[in-house]
Structures are given as C-alpha cells and as structure tokens.
C-alpha cells in the first residue's frame, strides 16, 4: 500500500499548481462563480478559462498525442483534476462533453474525416458540444428514447425532443442519440449523430430548474436534416457508441471538491453561529454530525483513490464510481439539510436578502442537493447496477 506520488508526479503537480496560480484571472472569485445564477456570465468565465487551458496545452490531457492530446497518465489526470479542484477553478462543464466524452468517442468510433473535422476544434473550445441523450419519456430508461432519425436520400431526418441538455444554446454541435430502427429490441435500433445546432428545425428552450436558475435546456427537432456522413459509428449501433461514451464520463472529483469546500464552509458556519452566546461548534450534537459528514466524505475520496489505483494497474474498473456517487450525494443531501437546521430561520433567506448568511448559499445547495441524486444516473439506477451487476442478484 503506497499512497505517495513519485518525484516526477510531484513535479508535475507543482507545475500544474504554478500554472493555475499564474493563469487563473486575478479577478476570479470562486464563491461568486459557483453561486451566481447568471448563466451567461458563468459560461463566459468558463469559456475564457477553457481557452486559457488550451493555450497552456492542458486540454485533452488523456487524448493520444496524435490527436493533439497530451497522452497523460491516469495519475497525471488525477493530479491535474485535484489541482483544479483545489484552486476552485471554473468548471470544465462548458467543454466537458466535447473533451471528455465526444472526443474519446470519436477517437474510438469516428471516421478519419470526422476526427480531422471535429477533434481540433473541440480541444480549442472553438466548437462546443452538447449531449442529446435524455428525453421526457426516457430518463432512467435511456433505451426507450423515441426521437427518430429517418433515412431520406443522403440525409437523416430527425424529429423528436431532448431534455436536460446542458449548454445547448451555447453549443455548436449536439452528440445525438436517435432511433433509426423501430422493428428491433429497443436498444438495438439506435444510432449516434453529430448534429449542427444551426440546422433549421432545431429549437432550444431553457429549462428552468426548481431553484429558478436555468442550467439546462429542452431541444426540439422538427424535420432536422443531418447528412449521412455525420453518423457516428455504424447504423443501429448507437447503444454501443453511447456505452463507450458513458465509460469515459467518469464522475470527476471536480464537482466533488465543491462538496469538500462546502464541508469546510460548514465548519466555519458552525463556528460563527452562536446560540445563547455559545458557538454552535461547541455543541456535541453539531460536532457529531459534522464529524460524520467529514468521515463519509473522506471515505468517498479514499474510495476514489482505490479506483484510481485499479485504473493505474490496468485492472478492470470496479464499482467505485457508483459507490462514490451514492456516498457523496447522500452525504451532501444530509449536510445541506443540516446546515439549514443550523441556520434556523436564516436558512430560508435567498441570495437577494442582505441579511442572508453566506449569500444564501446553503439554501441553494439544499435545493440543488437532489441534482446529484437524480442527475448522472439516479441513485436508484446506481443501486440497481450495484445489486445486479456487482453483487449478481437476479434481474427477473
């Protein structure tokens, strides 16, 4: 058992850290960035940061060098992500789909033309991608999607609706999954496409979340024509293409670092909250609960390290992804609820209220907490995966 990094790896970490320190805009305020409801501004900051990363040669860390990547080791990626999280740098969300999902998928399934056409502009953030998987009728049951792609000459004609599409109206392309065959088992009749978001017939409508913010969209397709050469992978093999993609969508610890930040904030909150003249941080009830959150969070981080170790050794991935997601989202749910209790009546105040504590961040996080137990595969789906695939319990 060895949790130390080699001297080279430590050097790499130092290089990354220094670079981030020197390149993160001086006026960048992470608290403001992570709590603002102003999506446009957020996207602007994130995009500028992505471009800066590209100029520094830091995008596509794990892409093969021949496609403009850095061919970094798993451990270097980990260090890089840790350092981004440590600095609370703007999230990679704006270009995450392109760099982390579409790129690797194209490298695996794409034609030479597709690779040449798309990969460089993904790396440079010149072209932003969104992902068109979820539909109103196909959430947990992705294979039930009903958006259709019908062949017509040298095009496919797309009709249907996608939902929970993040960044859709900032995107140049959508990585779309649609049905090309209705006569086979439902996951056998899908195909993947690269769809130009400027195509006639596409309507993007912001989806307002219960927080009142709008980080997602609905995307409507009405007779949208997509040239045949924009199909990714073979026809009717979209499910396999999608599986490749989802394997690359490793729950990065970036978001996780925000949980750690919140935990630190919670300790500060307990210290500054007084009841009857005594700091809440001295109340055993408060201490026990915060300690429990800290313990669970550490358990998640360490489990992620175990997953990383497997990856490094080239072992098949275990179920740590699902475990970490379940563990961290559940911790976050209770942590944010607990913060509300600690705040008492102040817990209800929003950012707009000058009397709100920590700019209403706790309320927002409490409302957002369910995003982590629903998005990216619901907790129920994660549990079913663990039960049937990891533990081998029978499906039927």
């Amino acid at each position: 058992m060895d949790l130390e990094f080699t001297a080279e790896e430590e050097d790499f970490r130092q290089e990354v850290r220094t670079w981030i320190e020197e390149n993160l805009p001086k006026d960048y305020d992470p608290d403001e960035y992570f709590s603002t409801p102003d999506v446009d501004k957020k996207v602007e900051i994130a995009l500028a940061w992505q471009k800066r990363l590209y100029e520094g040669g830091w995008t596509g860390l794990n892409w093969p060098k021949e496609y403009g990547g850095r061919g970094a080791t798993v451990i270097e990626q980990h260090i890089f992500n840790e350092e981004l999280g440590r600095a609370r740098a703007p999230m990679a969300a704006i270009n995450f789909i392109g760099v982390a999902m579409v790129g690797p998928t194209l490298i695996h399934w794409g034609t030479e033309e597709q690779k040449k056409r798309y990969l460089p502009k993904i790396l440079s953030s010149e072209e932003i991608w969104c992902q068109g998987f979820s539909e109103p009728g196909a959430g947990s049951d992705l294979a039930a999607l009903s958006t259709q792609a019908v062949e017509e000459g040298d095009h496919y004609v797309i009709n249907g609706q996608k939902t929970w599409t993040s960044m859709a109206h900032y995107s140049h392309f959508m990585y779309l999954l649609a049905r090309t065959n209705k006569d086979v088992k439902k996951h056998k009749g899908l195909s993947a496409f690269a769809v130009d978001m400027k195509s006639p017939g596409i309507t993007v409508r912001p989806l307002v979340q219960l927080t009142g913010d709008s980080d997602f969209n609905e995307v409507f397709f009405e007779d949208v024509r997509v040239p045949k050469e924009q199909m990714i992978g073979p026809r009717d093999q979209g499910w396999d293409v999608a599986i490749t993609t989802l394997m690359y969508e490793r729950a990065g610890m970036g978001a996780g670092m925000e949980f750690e930040h919140a935990l630190n904030q919670l300790v500060s909150l307990a210290k500054k909250t007084t009841r009857g003249g005594i700091s809440a941080s001295r109340d055993p009830w408060v201490r026990q609960q915060i300690a429990q959150f800290i313990i669970e969070w550490n358990a998640v981080k360490l489990t992620d390290l175990r997953a990383l170790s497997k990856q490094i050794s080239g072992e098949p991935p275990g179920w740590e992804g699902s475990i970490c997601k379940l563990g961290s989202s559940y911790m976050n749910l209770r942590m944010t609820a607990f913060a509300m209790e600690l705040l008492g009546p102040y817990g209800q105040l929003t950012r707009d209220c000058p009397l709100s504590v920590d700019q209403g961040a706790w309320l927002k996080q409490a409302l957002m907490a369910r995003a982590f137990t629903i998005g990216g595969g619901t907790s129920e789906i994660q549990r079913s995966i663990l039960a049937t695939r990891a533990l081998g319990l029978p499906r039927k």
């Binding site: 929970w164 219960l210 009857g276 105040l349 209220c353 369910r370 629903i374």
Partner: protein, 380 residues
C-alpha cells in the same frame, strides 16, 4: 374518546377543500409568487366570508368562535393547496393576542375588523439572534409622557408589509426576573419611524419582513395587556399559531405524497409503471408512515393546546420537531421519486418544498424542539 375530526369538521374540511380547489388553484399561487405583495383583496374577502379570519374570534366581535381544531382543519387544507399570502399572523396570532390581552376597547376595535376582513395584523418578536426567548429581545420602548418611544429591529416578521397593525414585542424594563419586562404595542404599519423591508426568502408565496423602528411614538392606549407582562401572552399566542403551522406541514406532505403516488402510477419506464418497482413502493410507504405519525403528533398538540393541558408545550415541541423534518424529507424524497421532472420550475412540487422549508424554519430548529422534549423527560 374520539381522536379525530367530528362529522361537522369533516364536512367543513370537504367544503374548505372544494373552496380552495376552485379559488386557489396552483395558477393562483404562482401568480401571487410573482406579485410585489402576495395579497389578493378579493381572495381575502372570500376567506372572510367563509369565516376563516374570524375563526378564533368570539361571536360578540363578529367572529365564528370556533375551536383550534376548526382552525387546523383549515390549516391542513391550506397546506394541501399551498395557499399563498398572509393568514396565521392575522387570524391566529393577532386574534389570539387581542383576545388574551386586549382591553374591551381594543378588542372591539381590532377583533371586529379582523373578523370582517378589513384589518390585517402581525406580531413582531424575533430579532437578530432569531429564537423565541424573551432574553433575546432588545428592542426597547421608552415610556414618556402619554406614550412610548420604540427603537429596535425585528426580523422574520410574517406579512408585515401587508399588515395594518404590527404588534411589537419590546422591552420596557431591564429586569432580571425571567420572562418579565417585555410589553406589547399595537403599532400602525405606517407610523412615522417604521421601516419595513421584505426579506427575500425561499417561499415567494408568503413573505417575511424586517421591521426597523426608529423613534416610533405610540400612544399609551396602544399598550396591549399589562406593562412588562407581554411574554406569557406571546408564548401562548405562538403556541396557538405553531399548532396550525404543524398541521399545514402535514397537509403539505399529504398532498405531495398523493402527487407522487399518482405520478408513479402513470410514469412508464422499462415498459411498466414505475409504481410497480418495489424499491419505490417502499419509499412511498415510509413517507406515508412519516406523514401519519406526524399527523398524530400535530393533532395531539392541537388537543393539548386547545385544552391548555400541562403537557401542551411538550406536545407542541414533539409535533414541531417531527413534522418539520418529516415535511422537508417528504418533499426531498418526492422530488427524487419524480426524477428530473420534479426538479423543474414548472412542476409544482417545489412550491410545497419551499413552503415546508420556510414554514418549519420559522418555528425554529428541530434541535431546539427536541431539547424541550429532552428537558421535559430527562431534566436539564
């Protein structure tokens, strides 16, 4: 021995539900959320006609002289409909304080107006360290010739911006005797020196305010009850107010659970209604258990408070602790069970969640409530 609503109360409940279905659909709630002040005079008039505003007011003053149980019948329905706007501050807190402490003239003046729906009131107690203890009151009323001069700041005052009269709890004496030294004053919202600002909060359909008093002068006859003896009145009035609030939490949870169950029956994934999935079924069952247990505690708190039994404060603390967590948990789980759609603004569940959060937090933290229970059963 009948631990349930009477037959009349059930009929009243059905009528109330019908009324709110018709007059307070969720579109109305959403409209009110957008308003500067979520108060609709026509709607208030209708509540008055139903006798809701005069529920706890003696017939002498034009009220219907109902019981607290009648009031919780309404409160549950208010929860089910997430009824927006002011209500308890006038119809419960205000009415009770006047009934308890008002002199004949004050009762006549205020109570009859409240019963008629012409007057809105609220109570301003909490300050910066929000907690319902007399020791935390530092707003001061200086006695002068023929009246008092009030200074200080109040927070989390429900509906102050729409109230005609704000009943202010202020210190009139720096005494050391526990719970003494606080007095109540009937202050016009528009009195000189009063500044009222909304405190933007999670529940946009019901508002809370900050009230700043800068040398506000009130006449001697606006003193409500005995000088220095206001705290027991506040205590009792808040007990009577928090009981229906607990029942509203139950109503919110009950309706949310119904919404979830209806959805699970129709939402199809993996080729069958997701309501057939046992893990989801059991989660719903657990929510039902919580809701019913909370209902029992809330009903008993009502009973004990109505009869002014010795265990009323503990019974209330139990209901507050349990119903607060239960309602918030129900909403959180409800959103999970709805999945993505439950996480959208257009879906109604978050209105229930918002109400559950603000309603419960306005009663304090569950830690405080549980501590009161511990004190009763284990000593200090």
């Amino acid at each position: 021995m009948h631990f349930d609503f009477t037959e009349e109360q059930r009929l009243f409940r059905d009528a109330s539900r019908k009324f709110l279905d018709a007059e307070c659909p969720v579109t109305f709630v959403r409209r009110m959320m957008e308003e500067e002040k979520p108060f609709d005079a026509a709607f208030w008039k209708k509540l008055t006609e139903l006798g809701w505003t005069g529920m706890l007011i003696p017939e002498t003053y034009g009220g219907v002289e109902g019981t607290l149980t009648d009031m919780i019948v309404v409160a549950e329905e208010i929860g089910r409909a997430v009824m927006p706007g002011p209500f308890y501050a006038t119809a419960v807190t205000g009415a009770e304080i006047l009934s308890l402490a008002g002199n004949a003239g004050q009762k006549d003046h205020y109570l009859s107006r409240v019963a008629e729906g012409d007057h809105l009131m609220t109570l301003a107690v909490l300050e910066s360290e929000a907690g319902l203890q007399s020791s935390r009151i530092s707003a001061f009323a200086e006695r002068g010739r023929g009246g008092f001069t009030l200074n200080g700041e109040k927070r989390f005052v429900p509906d102050a911006h729409t109230s005609d009269t704000i009943i202010v709890a202020a210190r009139t004496c720096h005494g050391t005797i526990r719970d003494r030294g606080i007095s109540l004053f009937l202050v016009d919202r528009a009195a000189e020196g009063m500044r009222i600002e909304q405190m933007p909060s999670v529940d946009m359909s019901r508002r809370i305010c900050r009230v700043v008093m800068d040398n506000v002068i009130v006449d001697e006859d606006r003193l409500l009850g005995e000088i220095d003896g206001g705290w027991p009145i506040i205590d009792r009035a808040m007990e009577l107010t928090h009981v229906p609030m607990c029942c509203e939490l139950v109503g919110l949870a009950e309706k949310a659970l119904e919404m979830v169950v209806e959805y699970l029956k129709v939402r199809v994934q993996f080729d069958r209604p997701i309501g057939t999935f046992q893990a989801l079924q059991h989660r719903c069952a657990d929510l039902m258990v919580g809701m019913e247990l909370g209902k029992s505690l809330a009903y008993y708190a009502c009973y004990a408070s109505e009869k002014d039994l010795p265990d009323a404060p503990v019974a209330l603390a139990m209901a507050q602790a349990y119903c607060s967590e239960m309602a918030r948990h129900t909403m959180s789980e409800g959103i999970q069970l709805f999945g993505g759609i439950g996480f959208t603004w257009e879906h109604d569940l978050h209105l229930y969640q918002r109400r559950a959060i603000s309603l419960s937090l306005n009663m304090g933290s569950t830690e405080e409530h549980r501590e009161r229970v511990a004190e009763a059963f284990m000593g200090g």
